[in-house]
Symmetry: C2
Subunit: 358 residues, 2 copies
């Protein structure tokens, strides 16, 4: 049978601890090239959904023979780029029936080829981003870190904090995001979840002025962290390439990226222009940073590259681009647990396989 | 609702004529860059399935705004490369439960993002390859063509002939393939289907010696058609890059390829080597043919490049690489017809969408 799972199932089945553990194993495989990851691609066209929107069909694949799985993650998105405050954001529109988003993970067996499970990507997406940055904290931040300042109060911020707290004994957290009511609601929620004080503050400087770990967790396409805010001993964590000002990256003592996949492969209809593409382009050229030359998180975890060498070094992890490979790893845990617990809709595997040679 | 369709459904819903018509429209969109196609990628690793096999997770995407659809085609394959006669073949192993293959087409709306349908790729795969080469015949072969010689008697050969007969008034066909019993069974079947004599012959030369159209429809990774067999006025049709000897390609008056996507993007685990990759590499280097400089079928159909200019020219269409884009086009027809006829399993679209921002 092939399992159809929901976000509620994934939320119940995939803990942050499990996701960090399976990614740690999977990244080691990847660093040794015993697993493979196919660069994300975005096919982008006009859409009739709404005037200021574009359609994006995004896919990314990964295979981990050691875990016996491969995965394809697909997003079929209606995207807009509204300006919020001074920053342009990338926002998906829930245009599917019942105002829903369309994102799927298809999990396959690398031993038989069969489709094991189909599940939405939303919960897994947040947990795996959190887990990757959590591994950045685990391998780069000072052992005695106890405080975090986070910029952002959206869905990514929640899993960023959960992940950091899973790998370090964190005592208190401060949060800034541009909308007061958002950051207040977020801090109340996270205080409950984490059992430690998570405090809203009025400026970026208040959030990051005297903490051990600084986490950027925004959906901006413009920088939100600047060079002037660097201090000895901190660990700087980012979930998106544009968040950190290039000159700040250049000043860090150790910088690791998630992957050498420089950017998604964009295929666009004629004359289309993406706000984010323009931003990224300007940003890269200005910076003169060769991301392909920076060491990766998988290399760090596999012991191929050295991490922090002293308490005074500034370390930085840039989660520059997501990998379908992560969904194969997290998916393998979800599938195993779902089978153990008998969860999900069981559909005949024959519905998703064939006797015709394709 | 989201439709789950079977190969039997697709076979009933997608005629060769419909597929040729929708591809003609879709290719015109592609040539004008109003649709987009993402190059096929193969992620390849070891597998425990059997000793001489590898695992390949293949994906390809396409979006056609005019038809309101995007598609991802996925193959989760166990592959072997046996030697049959003098030629190495690429053969998929049905290793999924009930000895089945795993190939899927996921069809999405480019207007809402929602998943419209999930179906196996097998039948559609053969029809769309046939339809593409059929369009090659339609736009390149002499108007008065009436005979075909075909090399190959497998699943691709059937749709190649059906497609050619849909665009030209064909009176008789000859077929050669290495195994006598295969070509005899094939000819009997195709005589029934097409209602014209399809005759098995004992050698390649007997099949192609005096016909108007020569079709290669093999699964070889070595050449099966050679320069010495070219004659004025013929149309040469191939479904795979290696089938035609490079020097034969160079001698044709008009050569069109399917796409400028030169080859699949292969991502392999360390030290893996593919028989087909080695073959293709040798073949390309020896040939000195710049496939990226050859005009494409979409450009031909859109009137951007000139086709045959006289009855004596030798024309050639090389279906060098498949496109996910074709599955979006064919899928849109299948979906529309299935909805009209109430076919397939209807699953709640909510199973494949989400309220969590991914």
């Amino acid at each position: 049978m092939t399992l159809i799972l929901s976000n509620a199932d994934v939320e119940q089945l995939l803990t942050m601890e499990d996701c960090i553990a399976v990614l740690e194993e999977a990244y080691t495989e990847l660093a040794h090239e015993r697993g493979v990851s196919r660069t994300r691609s975005d096919s982008i066209t006009p859409t009739t959904a709404q005037d200021d929107a574009l359609y994006s069909l995004k896919s990314m694949d990964g295979v981990i023979p050691k875990l016996g799985v491969g995965a394809v993650r697909i997003n079929s998105d209606i995207i807009t780029w509204p300006k919020v405050g001074n920053n342009v954001r990338r926002v998906k529109v829930p245009a599917a029936p019942n105002k829903r988003y369309t994102g799927l993970v298809l999990l396959f067996s690398s031993d038989t080829g069969e489709p094991l499970a189909i599940m939405p990507d939303g919960i897994m997406q947040h947990i795996r981003v959190g887990a990757a940055n959590g591994l950045g904290v685990k391998y780069l931040a000072r052992e005695n870190c106890s405080t975090i300042g986070i910029l952002g109060s959206g869905f990514q911020a929640e899993t960023q904090l959960t992940a950091a707290c899973a790998v370090r004994d964190i005592k208190s957290i401060k949060c800034f995001s541009p909308t007061k009511s958002n950051r207040e609601a977020f801090c109340e929620k996270m205080t409950d979840i984490l059992g430690i004080p998570v405090t809203p503050v009025d400026t970026t400087e208040d959030a990051i002025g005297d903490v051990d770990i600084i986490m950027c967790a925004s959906n901006t396409v413009d920088p939100i962290f600047f060079e002037q805010w660097l201090r000895p001993g901190i660990h700087l964590s980012s979930i998106k390439r544009p968040e950190v000002e290039p000159s700040a990256i250049l000043k860090c003592d150790r910088v690791f990226v998630h992957t050498h996949d420089g950017k998604p492969i964009h295929t666009l209809t004629k004359d289309l222009q993406l706000p984010e593409a323009q931003e990224n382009k300007g940003w890269n050229i200005a910076a003169g940073i060769d991301f392909g030359a920076l060491p990766t998180l998988p290399q760090l975890i596999a012991g191929m590259k050295e991490g922090r060498q002293s308490d005074s070094e500034i370390t930085c992890f840039l989660n520059n681009l997501g990998l379908g490979y992560q969904f194969a790893a997290a998916g393998s845990v979800v599938y195993k647990r779902a089978m153990e617990k008998g969860m999900g809709h069981n559909l005949p595997t024959d519905w998703f396989t064939e006797d015709v040679h394709p």
